[in-house]
Amino acid sequence: MTTARASRGSAVVMTLYLLFLLVPIYWLVNMSLKTNAEITGTFSLWPLNPTLNNYRIILTDPSWYMGYVNSLIYVVLNTALSLAVALPAAYAFSRYRFLGDKHLFFWLLTNRMAPPAVFALPFFQLYSAVGLFDTHIAVALAHCLFNVPLAVWILEGFMSGVPREIDETAYIDGYSFPRFFTRIFMPLIASGIGVAAFFCFMFSWVELLLSRTLTSVNAKPIAATMTRTVSASGLDWGVLAAAGVLTILPGALVIWFVRNYIAKGFALGRV
């Protein structure tokens, strides 16, 4: 009886919390389906004359939709790059002790703690100097600053959960390290790799300060496109809302794929 009452209480709490989370998002969706006249003229809880016009503007104008393409290109580049270098490093940290390992690990983490605002200006100068300014690879490299340490941290957590006997057995069976790593070890920590990829995707996708500083035209991310439109025309609320809704979609899709690992993933494999 008490458990029934407790679970009803939980349901109430969760409903309230989810409402708190979803109402602001609903409001954005609601606005994206209205015309500007309706947004500023009347106040209604749902669109009275639903229109997809705002979305059509974005999906037919290259200066809008290329923002999404640019963002996706550098996010994918960054995720691939971060995982490629983080996998062997995480293996080293989880399996061996070596000179300076603890200091190195903490030093890596300090880069996750570095405020992007500190790095904005030097990055701008560095990438301009080497001719990478306004390219996708510049943003992808810049985001490695916080994504590589995070990927190492997550992967190390998952790898430490795999018993070391598996490595030893494989070496005795005559596997070379690269073959063992790709054929046996990586499938074992597949969920960890998925979670790490999810986090790299997430932090690269949501970041604005660095990606805006390092790009001007050719690699401009969607988030920067949005801020400039706000300051330029100021009043095109419908298009702004539609652009916002479209930035939520990739994240929602990615979450759906990793939903079964998400809780463990947020704990960085360290439960």
Binding site: S10, V13, M14, Y17, L18, L21, L22, V23, P24, I25, W27, L28, M31, I39, L81, P88, A89, Y91, F93, Y96, R97, F98, L99, F106, L109, R112, M113, A114, P115, P116, A117, F119, L121, P122, F124, Q125, L126, L141, A142, C144, W205, V206, L208, L209, A223, M226, W237, L240, T247, I248, P250, G251, V254, R259, I262, A263, F266, A267, R270, V271
Partner: protein, 288 residues
């Protein structure tokens, strides 16, 4: 904890080292370089010693920004950590609803930060936003553009909206790892709900809670985009946090020297506090 010593493991770490050196050490050295030099333009620099550091440390504006930043992070931790634990305790344990709730809760975490700002900017407006409109209808004088209190309240509610799920998901993962036997033992002992929480759930969540505190502290201390979009640091300087002030200095006014000195002090403050958290965290883990 009995890992074999093998210095050849350095080769596995080398790619990370090269990449992070390129994207962190070189830029950081640039900052150090600027922080001790002055310029009259034309790319001519001369040694300025610790002058900029002194100027930054004595600047009332930056001290005020640091004060606001500390207050903000303290409020954020005081709200989000207990609320996150509370939500985690109430989340469904398994089945379809558990997956759905997880996905919905993770949603705010994957929205680009300036869009988070936009959502709340629109939501709070008195003329077109649901929140602003409702408060106005209730007769509450709410305007985040002009009133410092309303601006603070909006930014805090926005951050709670944005990040509480992270704390909740971490705690949820900690709770999921508690074996059923623990709860059965508690039931046999007729432990109260509070007792179960205090002596079983809280200790088991300790590890993930420390991660949560660390992450929330670092990220709230570096917050830039969301308040910048919502209030632009205003009204006046009421919501100008450290990063907003720094970007204004470095990219807006191009004051390289003071901005660089400011950056280094800022980074060191974060590093120091995070190091304390990290040490506590690893000591705790080694003890268990």
């Amino acid at each position: 904890m009995d890992k074999p010593v093998n210095n050849r493991a350095w080769f596995l770490v080398l790619p990370v080292l090269v990449l992070v050196a390129f994207s962190a050490v070189i830029p950081l050295m640039t900052v150090v370089n600027y922080s001790v030099q002055d310029t009259f333009g034309n790319n001519q620099f001369f040694w300025n010693g610790l002058g900029w550091f002194q100027e930054v440390l004595e600047s009332d504006r930056i001290r005020a920004a640091l004060g606001r930043q500390l207050l903000f992070s303290a409020i954020i931790l005081a709200i989000e950590i207990p609320l996150g634990i509370f939500i985690a305790l109430n989340m469904p344990k398994r089945g379809f609803w558990a997956s759905l709730v997880l996905v919905l809760m993770a949603l705010p975490l994957l929205i680009p930060w300036n869009v988070v700002g936009t959502i709340w900017q629109v939501f709070g407006r008195v003329d077109i936003g649901l929140l602003g409109h409702t408060l106005a209808m209730l007769g509450i004088d709410y305007n985040y553009v002009n009133d410092p209190w309303d601006a603070w309240a909006t930014i805090i509610v926005m951050d709670v909206w944005h990040w509480t799920s992270l704390v909740a998901l971490l705690c949820y993962a900690g709770l999921q790892s508690i074996p059923d036997a623990y709860y059965q033992a508690a039931r046999i002992d007729q432990a109260s709900r509070w007792g179960v929480f205090r002596y079983i759930e809280l200790p088991k969540m300790q590890g993930v809670l420390l991660i949560a505190v660390l992450l929330r502290f670092m990220d709230s201390f570096m917050i830039y985009t969301e308040p910048f979009v919502v209030t632009g640091g205003g009204p006046g300087n009421a919501t100008t946090f450290l990063s907003i002030d720094l970007v204004k200095m470095a990219i807006g006014q191009f004051d390289l020297g003071p901005a660089a000195a400011f950056s280094l002090i800022y980074f060191l403050v974060i590093l120091l506090i995070s190091w304390v958290f990290y040490t506590v965290m690893t000591v705790q883990r080694d003890r268990t």
